[in-house]
Amino acid sequence: MNCGYGEKLILYFYGEAGAGSRSSGQYSSSAIPLSGDETASAVEAHLKSCAACRDAFAALTAAEGLLKESAALPPASALEAVMRQARAAAAGARSPFFAGNRVETAFAGVMAFALMAVFALFPRGTSPELAWNSGLDSSLDSVEYSLYQAQSELTASSGDWEYSYDLLNAERQILDPGEG
């Protein structure tokens, strides 16, 4: 199509060329609302004398017709999947836990911690044998021994320090008998 009507034909075909184009006359095949001020009548007049544009128009009509005939819809499951996620997101946004209700969230945290402490301090359903077999007793013994050892070392250090202090005091009195 070297007639210079290529783009005007497109606008005319899709109802964007101006009032009076595709909705009436020999080449009308759609009721698309028209807009703009393109000279649709000039395109119509041109179509009568240009076979190439007529064929292009017919090809567009055929292609548009094929797309209309082969229209398809998404399965209902696709829409339902979106709606499920939308409802879940909305429910999540409304939930006090996620809505920033800090008092309730903090209270829930404290309660969870208290329950964990209770279970840790008062274990139930564990027989002495099981505790022994599990190595719990030996672990506790190790901890106890470590504590005892640390206490002994601390006492020894304290004794050493007192001894050194007395020694220094004695030396000072020798050097300066007038003091003390």
């Binding site: 290529g6 075909f13 076979a51 190439a52 064929d55 017919a58 709606m83």
Partner: protein, 197 residues
């Protein structure tokens, strides 16, 4: 009641917590959006996934759509981007080898050509098979369009946006969009003439 609301009003309602407003939006645009995605990807599973992806974008980030914009333009922009991402992920582009042949037609005379007659013919009992074959030829002709030409052709058909709006969506001058469509029409005409009846 919801069905009477405009698209931006439905989105605003959805943002306000009315989940069912989203259902109305989907019902309103499902045929156009799914048809476009199915045409572009040529796969029902991909079209379904992308259809959900587009609307889930609104679910997870309602602020992504501004009521100042035309909803359908936003919808097809997101759909186009999602389809491009899909192709990037898949690393595949459809390439169809087309049979070449001759399509008889009177290009110079005033008498209606075979193509003109085919486009305007009303389907009759004997014409059912011919129409089916013609449909197949048109589908093959569409496949010969360049990616840019096909994109604009499909966008115009399914989104029903004006060429000006499509040009804005694609960030192209309207002259470029119209030139591509004009070449697409010429290509369709040429391919349909070449193919055997």
């Amino acid at each position: 009641m919801r069905e009477e609301l405009s698209d931006p009003e439905l989105v605003a309602s959805f943002k306000g917590g009315d989940v069912e407003a989203l259902g109305v939006l989907m019902e309103r645009h499902k045929a156009a959006l799914y048809g476009y995605l199915l045409r572009v990807t040529a796969r029902t599973d991909a079209a379904e996934d992308l259809f959900q992806e587009v609307f889930l974008k609104l679910v997870h980030n309602p602020g992504a759509y501004s009521e100042r914009l035309k909803f359908r333009a936003w919808l097809f922009t997101v759909a186009r981007n999602a389809a491009m991402d899909y192709f990037r992920r898949e690393g595949s582009r459809r390439a169809l080898t087309l049979p070449q042949g001759a399509f008889a037609g009177d290009e110079d005379g005033d008498a209606p050509s075979a193509l003109e007659m085919a486009a305007s013919a009303e389907p009759g009992p004997q014409e059912a098979l011919e129409n089916k074959l013609l449909g197949e030829r048109i589908a093959r002709a569409l496949e010969t369009l360049s990616q840019e030409q096909r994109e604009i052709f499909y966008l115009r058909h399914y989104s029903e946006l004006s060429f000006k709006e499509i040009a804005e969506m694609l960030g192209l001058p309207i002259g470029t969009v119209l030139a591509r469509m004009s070449r697409a029409a010429a290509r369709l005409r040429g391919e349909l003439k070449k193919m055997p009846q």
